[in-house]
Amino acid sequence: MSISTPAGDKRRPSAVSTGKKPPAGKSSSSSTSSTSTARKPSTASKAAGTAARPGGKAGGAGGGGKGRKPITPVKVSQGRSWGPIAMFVAVGVIAAGIIGYGSWAAFKGSQPWEQKAADIDGIVNYRDNPDKTLTEANHAWGPLTYKLTPPVGGNHNYNWQNCMGDVYDAPIANEHAVHAMEHGAVWVAYKSGLAADQVEKLASKVRGNEYMLMSPIENLDHEVSLQAWGYQLKVDSVDDGRIDQFISALRQNATVEAGATCSGGITATGTTPRDIGKDQQGG
């Protein structure tokens, strides 16, 4: 079909040149226009195939011989060629669009969470850090020391902090919070003294969502610090869009204990770890 466009254009001068023939009656003109219509594709393809100008001319003469004016074939050739072209362009564009969008969405959607995390501006990935104490995961009793504030992993208490969307209004023990992160929780920490409406904005992202917990920290170096196992992002506004990005990418995904739960943990606040179960263990 694409051939018909240039062929049709080529035909125009030949049709004009044959316009010298005496015009016939109106009815014969419209009937010849149909015969010329029927003839034209073969003529055009012949002309395109042989690329011989006399051949084309002869064909044109044959077609236009009975025709009244050269205008009629020109109009017909426009109607015939642009329609199919528009159709095939539409078919191509729409089909390619659907497939392209589908493929792109599939690729984008199936991006691993690690990639989504890596794309967050300012996030720090401590899983790759050569200091493996940052993300080692043994159980221990009593107070533990952490190199990062807030910590993103490391040895931790036997008991985890309850992370069923719990919004704690006072500081909690790192030893329990780290264990909650091992289970896949995102820990939203904010600097003590943050305005109540700001705290509420954060709480609305946490409350009712398992694998989330939130608590204040004294003298935190930023307004808000988000932690998941091995990852940290510090921001200075509760309206920072990266907070939702962090939660979306890492909540539950960052677990190093797939299937571990958030209920049944410590629900009390206070920065001293609670060694519940130590007596029974004899440790």
């Binding site: 109106k26 226009s33 528009a86 539409a90 497939i99 409350r207 739960t261 209920s263």
Partner: protein
């Protein structure tokens, strides 16, 4: 001849009428055909070569249900475990353990679906957005039937018969909210696995609500 001249533009059975008719449908007609064919071709090819066309997408009812019901179930597990550990009535203890084990297993199934569908556990839409007018059913951001932070704290501190009664009351409310969500996804999905689990939840939790009510009567709650 002169008759045919007049009837020319209108009469479809005569060859002469074809070219004007073609011109009238012209580009617009071909374009419409092209759009239709393009959509068909794109969808057919897409179904064949793009896997995401055949599985629930990011904002689908199936994904929304899997995520939201996981969260809803997680709270039932929390309350069920509390009952299993501290209820004074043995029937309440048994029911609490049953709920916790069953619903934790169901969370595992729903999370496995999400992984299979290449979707994350956290959606970009608000809770319940997959249900018609679903987000309007949220109370303080909580899905229907979910216990508030205050109710959870109350349950943790309650003991004896008071605990049993509060647990049953909270769990009836929780189950009714869960049944509503499961019924909604049954209406919206044609995914066999989702249907099977959701229909099971509706039937099973209805029976449990009846059992809770009997226990409440027994305990005089």
């Amino acid at each position: 001849m002169s008759v045919s001249v007049e009837s020319d533009p209108e009469s479809p059975e005569i060859d002469d009428a074809v070219p004007p008719a073609r011109r009238r449908f012209g580009v617009a007609g071909w374009l419409a055909a092209g759009v239709a064919l393009g959509l068909l071709l794109g969808l057919v090819a897409g179904l064949l070569i793009v896997p995401s066309f055949t599985r629930p997408g990011e904002d689908s009812a199936e994904a929304g249900f899997a995520r939201d019901m996981s969260t809803h179930h997680a709270q039932a597990v929390e309350m069920g475990m509390l009952a299993h550990q501290k209820a004074s009535d043995s029937d309440v203890r048994t029911l609490g353990g049953d709920i916790a084990l069953t619903q934790q297993a169901q969370i595992g199934m729903m999370q496995a679906w999400l992984r299979e569908w290449k979707l994350g556990p956290t959606g970009s839409q608000p809770r319940m957005a997959w249900m018609p007018e679903g987000s309007a059913g949220l109370e303080n951001g909580l899905m229907p039937g979910m216990a508030t932070d205050a109710e959870r704290a109350q349950l943790r501190s309650a003991t004896g018969k008071a605990f049993d009664v509060l647990f049953l009351q909270l769990m009836i409310k929780h189950h009714l909210g869960g049944i509503h969500m499961a019924e909604e996804v049954v209406k919206l999905t044609d995914n066999a696995e989702v249907l099977r689990l959701a229909q099971g939840m509706v039937a099973n939790q209805r029976n449990e609500v009846a059992a809770f009510q009997q226990l409440l009567t027994k305990l005089g709650g």
